[in-house]
């Protein structure tokens, strides 16, 4: 049995349905990331788990116990907020100890717990300061400390890194990952940043408009997005989603990409998904990630299905570790990721290798993946 289970959770606010039937589960020690654009309901979902917002229907269980009706403090959870929500009137130590104080933990024990957490997070020198005297990163650590000290069954993080600058965000991301690894706690984490989702999660739930679009491991989400939304949302640079048609005959299907002022490219599909035959001569969306579209030399050696086609390069972006080339296929700008030292000039034509094993196809009408 999973550690955290959410069954058919619905929440209405007036006539507006904010969560439209959420089903999720998470194993003990797992790291669930709820990701999605703003307004998708991910924070509301987190708040319902915390008990800060009520639910209209459904059930939330932690470790087999239904917690729907429990007060937040009775749910054995800890939460880190986007703004950190440090109590401005208390010192760092006071902030960390507040929860224990509320539970009537004796002062001596509290002190011990504070010291322990301060050591883990290296904030020992800050304990007597007020939150207003701390930097952003320090506040973040204190907020985590306040959660950690509780040693709860479940950690909830509400966009904890979104108020930090880029470098600090990367540092703290690693810190969180390390903490998770060393303490083995169960975490539910909300973010709108798909990189955080990918790097931290053991399970990701991609959400939109109060519904879970896809729930799976990061690899599943990345490699096998169930629909256009997930495909587009996860990954950076984003997956190329190119309008195309299915050509070929019988067993040998091919994908046909229109080009400006030149004849279309036709890429033969070796092991096309079975559903694709139904789309013969019909428009589909052809999805290929930039790293699956590369210079022939840089292409994955052992991929079973690679097709090469000449493409007109419009822009070249050397990014140091890689070079990105932009071409135009099916009326859209398409990004290819080449080796850093690929010798390529804008305005010229160059052959690009399509790794079709990694390609995905979507029905433009339903936006679902064709399997």
């Amino acid at each position: 049995m999973a550690f955290l289970e959410i069954d058919g959770l619905r929440k209405q606010f007036g006539s507006v349905e904010i969560l439209k039937g959420i089903d999720l589960d998470l194993e003990k020690g797992g790291f669930l990331v709820l990701v999605g654009p703003s307004g998708c309901g991910k924070s509301t979902l987190l708040n319902t788990i915390a008990g800060l917002e009520t639910i209209t229907e459904g059930e939330i269980r932690v470790d087999g116990r239904t917690i729907n009706d429990l007060h937040p403090s009775k749910r054995d959870i800890a939460m880190v907020f986007q703004s950190y929500a440090l109590y401005p009137n208390m010192t760092v130590a006071g902030n960390i100890a507040f929860g224990m104080e509320m539970r009537g933990v004796p002062a001596q024990e509290r002190q011990k717990a504070i010291d322990k957490v301060a050591k883990v997070l290296q904030i020992g020198h800050l304990l007597q300061r007020k939150p207003s005297q701390l930097s952003g990163g320090q506040r973040q650590r204190v907020a985590m400390g306040r959660a950690l000290v509780r040693d709860p069954k479940l950690f909830l993080f509400d966009e904890p890194l979104s108020n930090l600058d880029a470098k600090l965000r990367v540092d703290m991301r690693i810190e969180i990952k390390r903490l998770h690894a060393t303490t083995g706690t169960t975490i539910v984490y909300v973010t709108h940043d798909q990189i955080e989702a990918m790097t931290l999660a053991t399970k990701i739930a991609v959400m939109r408009d109060g519904e879970v679009q896809q729930f799976g491991t990061p690899a599943e989400i990345y490699n096998n997005p169930t629909n256009l939304f997930v495909a587009d949302f996860m990954g950076s640079p984003a997956m190329n989603l190119i309008p195309a048609t299915i050509g070929g005959n019988g067993n040998a299907l091919s994908v046909v990409l229109q080009r400006e002022a030149r004849e279309p490219i036709s890429l033969p599909l070796a092991d096309a998904p079975t559903g694709l035959s139904a789309f013969h001569s019909k428009p589909i969306i052809f999805g290929v990630r930039p790293e699956a579209l590369t210079d022939p030399e840089g292409a994955e050696r052992n991929a079973s299905n690679i097709a090469t086609a000449d493409c007109h390069i419009e822009v070249v972006e050397p990014a140091g570790s890689d070079t990105y080339a932009v071409t135009n296929l099916g009326g859209k700008a398409v990004v290819a990721r080449l080796r850093a030292d690929a010798n390529i000039q804008p305005g010229t034509s160059t052959p690009l290798a399509f790794n079709l094993t990694k390609a995905v196809f979507f029905d433009p009408a339903t936006e679902n993946r064709i399997l």
Binding site: G51, P72, S73, S83
Partner: protein
């Protein structure tokens, strides 16, 4: 956030535009300060004059032979009704009425604001609107019905005392005044706190909930310690209004042992068919206003800070 003073255009040599600007600004500020201080000046010089000088001289002229006599008289000798011991004794009457009234109304306002922003329920807007509109009721029209109710409460207090030996202060004029000022101060205190807490981060409340704090613990440990600015604003506002109230005070607490400062001052200043001692009146007025003046000067800094922190937002 100053703008006019930005040294944008600095001319070389002569008087810079900036200097002219500053002179104009300081000039205007000083001019208005004179306007505001003028009545205070009149009161001050008058309070140091003899009655002869007041009757024969110019009211704006400085006292020819300054005398402290009026102040001493106002403090310890002037007659408030038949008791001629000055107004000093009425400070305590006012304070024992103003302090509980201010604290209770402020505390209730804080609780109301807390509920109305952080624990919303259906219809919270209507409740707040109704409470806010209460600020506008003319006090003269509540004087009699309130007196009737206070009278009934007083009689109930007597019954209670006969039954239990304890009247809970019902019927006591000071308690009555506290009650009245709490009732009619709630609108403003709730407005101030509600608007302050509106901008108060809700995440702090959520965090405290997760930490296991109860409704009142959150209020006491999280909200109140972070409400200092608005607390000061509300206390000042309430203190001024209640201290200066005459209508309720004279109607509900006219007897010597409960009479607040305003009524005493009024009795010193107003006379129907007797001699008016303006110098004593002015001195008495200033003595009576000392607590409020003190509160303004000392807390003025916090006052602006408190307003800034959200008391006036919407």
């Amino acid at each position: 956030m100053s703008v006019i003073a930005t040294p944008a255009r600095q001319s070389t040599g002569g008087i810079s535009a900036r200097t002219v600007n500053r002179i104009v600004i300081y000039g205007l500020l000083a001019l208005f300060a004179l306007f505001y201080l003028m009545p205070l000046f009149v009161m001050l010089v008058t309070s140091f004059k003899t009655m002869d000088e007041i009757q024969n001289g110019n009211m704006l002229a400085l006292p020819q032979a300054p005398t402290f006599e009026p102040w001493l008289k106002a403090w310890g000798e002037t007659c408030v009704g038949l008791t001629c011991a000055g107004i000093k004794g009425y400070f305590w009457n006012s304070i024992k009425m103003v302090v509980p009234a201010v604290l209770i109304s402020t505390l209730l306002g804080a609780l109301n604001g807390y509920v109305l922003t952080k624990w919303r329920f259906r219809g919270h807007t209507l409740v707040f609107g109704l409470m806010l509109f209460a600020c506008f009721i003319p006090f003269q029209s509540v004087l009699l019905p309130m007196a009737t109710i206070l009278g009934s409460l007083g009689r109930f207090g007597v019954t209670l005392r006969n039954a239990t030996g304890f009247s809970f202060g019902l019927g006591n004029p000071t308690v009555n005044l506290v009650f009245v000022h709490v009732v009619y101060g709630l609108g403003f205190t709730t407005l101030f706190f509600r608007n302050y807490y509106e901008a108060f981060p809700t995440e702090l409340v959520k965090a405290a909930q997760v930490d296991g704090a109860s409704f009142f613990q959150i209020f006491r440990r999280i909200m109140l310690p972070n409400s200092m600015p608005i607390f000061v604003v509300t206390v000042i506002y309430q203190f001024t209004n209640i201290w200066n109230d005459f209508l309720f005070a004279s109607a509900y607490a006219g007897t010597g042992d409960a009479m607040p400062m305003t009524v005493a001052l009024n009795n010193v200043v107003n006379t129907s068919t007797g001699v008016v001692e303006y110098n004593v009146n002015m001195a008495a007025a200033m003595i009576a206003a000392l607590p409020t003046l003190l509160v303004y000067v000392v807390a003025g800094r916090y006052f602006v800070r408190g307003l800034m922190a959200g008391a006036v937002k919407g």
